[in-house]
Every structure is written in structure tokens, then in C-alpha cells.
């Protein structure tokens, strides 16, 4: 089977859809939570989608299949950001505001490869904050809720101001990792052909 651009776009759309579905699923001890992105993640995904198309990491949409890939890609990006962004609170406000202010200078320059590398670094930092820094600090800042004659409840309120965090088990992190892998694979499929003699679709171009 030959991988025509239209076939690549449809395959990428399916992968983006799988990434979007998986990124929002969080298994808990008793049941499953389903997260849908909010306005912050949605707007940021639009910005990233625009930059990915502008820099040629995603091929410019043309036709139904091309637009489908971009739309599903933007939704998948928003869902992955929902998985990666810190929970609501002071930490999220600082991180997102910092990213929004520096987004243009960080992501708009250079080649598509550089843009994707920047996004990968950003994903690592976001994962570090959400799945390493916040959980470690959470257990060490003040007494636990319901202990220390009411002091624990005060400490809990203070912690919630910084990050309204809920623990996520290893299964939840693994599902999120699979979602990010699917997103990367889909991006590889819709990698824009470099302007060259044979229209090569290689990311190394």
C-alpha cells in the first residue's frame, strides 16, 4: 500500500483521535475519571496548531482529509495539554502565563525539527512539574488534612491555593504516555514535505 498524503492524513486523524481519548482517561483506585480540556488548554492548542502549520511541522491543510488531520490534531493537542498542565492554582497560573508570554519567541523561530524539539522539552518540564514537583512538595508542606488539631486543614487550604492536585497512579501516567506517543506518531505522519526536488516527506529535511 502506498502512503499518499490523503492516506497519511486519515491515519494521522485516527491516531490523533486515539491520543485525545487516551489523554483524558485517568484510572483511579475506585473508578475512572474522564477529563475534557478547558479554555486554557484549548486556546493554547490553537496557538500551537497554528505554529505547527506555520513552521511546516504539520502540512498545510488542503482538502477534507488535510483539514480533518489539523482539527483532530488540535483537539489531541488540547487533551495532551490537559494531561500535562499543572492542576488549577498558583502554579498553573505562573506556568501558563510564562509559556504564553514566551511562546512566540520560543516556538516561532527555526526549523520544524527545532519547533518539535522545543515542544518535547516543554512536555518534559510540564511533566516534571505536575508529576514530580507537585506530588513531592504536597506530601511535605505542612501536616496532612484532618490531623494536628485543625492545623492540617489550614495546611490543606494553603496547598490547594498553590495547586488543586489529585494523585494519579502509575496506570494513569502510562496511559498519558501512550497518548503522547500516539500524538508524536500522528505528527510524524503529517510531517510537511520539505520544499525540494522530489517533495520528500522526511522529518530530517
Amino acid at each position: 500500500m502506498t502512503w499518499t498524503p490523503a492516506r497519511r492524513s486519515v491515519a494521522a486523524s485516527l491516531l490523533f483521535l486515539a491520543a485525545a481519548v487516551l489523554a483524558g482517561v485517568t484510572p483511579l483506585e475506585h473508578g475512572v475519571e474522564y477529563h475534557v480540556f478547558g479554555i486554557v488548554e484549548g486556546l493554547f492548542a490553537l496557538l500551537l496548531g497554528y505554529l505547527l502549520v506555520l513552521r511546516g511541522a504539520w502540512a498545510a491543510p488542503a482538502g477534507v482529509t488535510g483539514w480533518a488531520a489539523v482539527v483532530y490534531g488540535t483537539v489531541a493537542t488540547a487533551q495532551v495539554l490537559e494531561f500535562l498542565f499543572p492542576p488549577p492554582g498558583l502554579v498553573q497560573w505562573v506556568v501558563v502565563a510564562g509559556m504564553a508570554i514566551t511562546a512566540w519567541s520560543v516556538f516561532s523561530g527555526g526549523t520544524p525539527r527545532r519547533l518539535v524539539a522545543s515542544l518535547a522539552s516543554l512536555a518534559v518540564i510540564l511533566a516534571l512539574v505536575r508529576y514530580s514537583v507537585i506530588p513531592v512538595l504536597w506530601t511535605r508542606i505542612g501536616p496532612a488534612q484532618g490531623t494536628a488539631f485543625g492545623l492540617g486543614d489550614v495546611a490543606e487550604s494553603a496547598r490547594r491555593i498553590f495547586a488543586d492536585w489529585q494523585p494519579v497512579g502509575p496506570a494513569g501516567e502510562l496511559i498519558g504516555f501512550v497518548a503522547v506517543c500516539l500524538w508524536a506518531l500522528a505528527t510524524r505522519l503529517v510531517w510537511a514535505p520539505a520544499p525540494g526536488p522530489a517533495g520528500s516527506a522526511s522529518p530530517d529535511a
Binding site: M1, T2, T4, P5, A6, R7, R8, S9, V10, A11, A12, S13, L14, L17, A18, A20, V21, G24, E29, H30, G31, V32, Y34, V36, A59, A60, P61, A62, G63, V64, T65, G66, A68, A69, V70, Y72, V190, A192, P193, A194, P195, G196, P197, A198, G199, S200
Partner: protein, 200 residues
């Protein structure tokens, strides 16, 4: 994403390997993929909307989706929701258990509307009544406070109203006795302060 849109693929050398939009529209792989994409998108929306908590729940929901008006799938779904409520209750998740019981009530009521004979009607009614009573019992536990603290009367009143609703339909004697005992417990709990200790 079509090759014709990119600068590289518009060159004559790339034309044989990059079919135009018309050829893409006739490509069975593309058509099949788009159809699969549509189906999977609908499935994803339904999945997120239903928010199933276990694989068993996915099965019962699918059964109801296949035969929405049938009695048996609705009863199965109601029983599955009751199991989910009991699991949430055992885990200390009172709000979750109340929500699951409410879903079970709704399913049992729907089953009751699609009964074919009196046996089915009785089964659905009993299931609905016992679910309502379970929920009312849970609400009683959630709304009751020690005598020196004020009860959450809104929750208790809601629980009492649910029990009265159950008492308004024909039930088997054990269920009727359970409803009566629960109503008495709630009414006693709603009395002010230590008066809740004094029997009527």
C-alpha cells in the same frame, strides 16, 4: 495535507506519486478511513458522555444502547448501577454512591415502563423501591449529626420525601415494612436536639 497543496509536490516530478484531490476522494482506503474516523469519533463522544467506571458498565450500557426499550437490558443496567453504588459506598464516596443510586432508580423506572407482564412489573417496582430506600438510608447517614449539632434538614427532608414516594406504590410486605421503619427513623432524626432519642 494533500500533496498538491505543498510547494514540493506541485512540481511535475512528484505528480505520479501524489494523486490529486479527485483521486483521493475515490481512494477506498481514504473513504474507509474517513468512515472509521466518523464512527470512532461518535464512539469517543458517547464514551466520555457516559463516563463508564468499569468494563462491566461498558457492557451494560452497550446492551441498553442496542435495545433501549427492552426490559431485560434496563434491569441489568439498574443492577449494575446498584453494584457500582455499593462499591462507591464501601469506598466512602457518599456523593458518588448517591449519584449511582439515582442512575439505578432511573433505569429501574424505565424498565418498569417497558414491562410485558405483571411479574416483570413487580420485579422492576421492587428493584426501584429498594434502590430508593438504599439511597434514602445513605442520605439519612449523610444528613444526621450528633444531638448537639444541627442536622442537615434539607437532606433529611429529601430522604423522607423519597421514602414517602416508595410508600405510595404497591409493594411486597418486607419492602413496605422497611420503608415504614426508615420513614420513622428519618422523622425521629429530624426532631430537635435530644428529642430524637424519645420514641413516639
Amino acid at each position: 495535507m494533500d500533496g498538491s497543496a505543498s510547494p514540493g509536490s506541485t512540481q511535475p516530478a512528484a505528480a505520479p506519486t501524489a494523486p490529486g484531490p479527485t483521486a483521493d476522494r475515490r481512494d477506498p482506503w481514504v473513504l474507509g478511513g474517513l468512515a472509521l474516523l466518523g464512527v470512532m469519533t461518535v464512539f469517543a463522544i458517547l464514551l466520555y458522555r457516559a463516563s463508564p467506571q468499569s468494563a462491566r458498565e461498558v457492557g451494560s450500557a452497550a446492551l441498553v444502547a442496542v435495545a433501549p426499550d427492552a426490559f431485560t437490558p434496563r434491569i441489568s443496567r439498574a443492577r449494575e448501577r446498584i453494584s457500582a453504588a455499593q462499591r462507591a459506598r464501601a469506598a466512602g464516596d457518599t456523593a458518588g454512591a448517591l449519584a449511582r443510586y439515582a442512575e439505578a432508580e432511573e433505569e429501574a423506572l424505565t424498565a418498569r415502563q417497558h414491562t410485558a407482564d405483571t411479574t416483570q412489573a413487580r420485579t422492576a417496582t421492587e428493584l426501584w423501591a429498594s434502590t430508593v430506600l438504599d439511597r434514602a438510608e445513605l442520605m439519612l447517614g449523610a444528613g444526621a449529626r450528633p444531638w448537639y449539632q444541627a442536622d442537615n434538614n434539607q437532606v433529611l427532608a429529601e430522604a423522607l420525601a423519597s421514602v414517602k414516594r416508595v410508600q405510595g406504590v404497591p409493594l411486597a410486605p418486607p419492602t413496605r415494612a422497611r420503608a415504614q421503619a426508615l420513614a420513622a427513623r428519618i422523622e425521629r432524626q429530624m426532631r430537635a436536639g435530644p428529642l430524637e432519642w424519645i420514641p413516639r
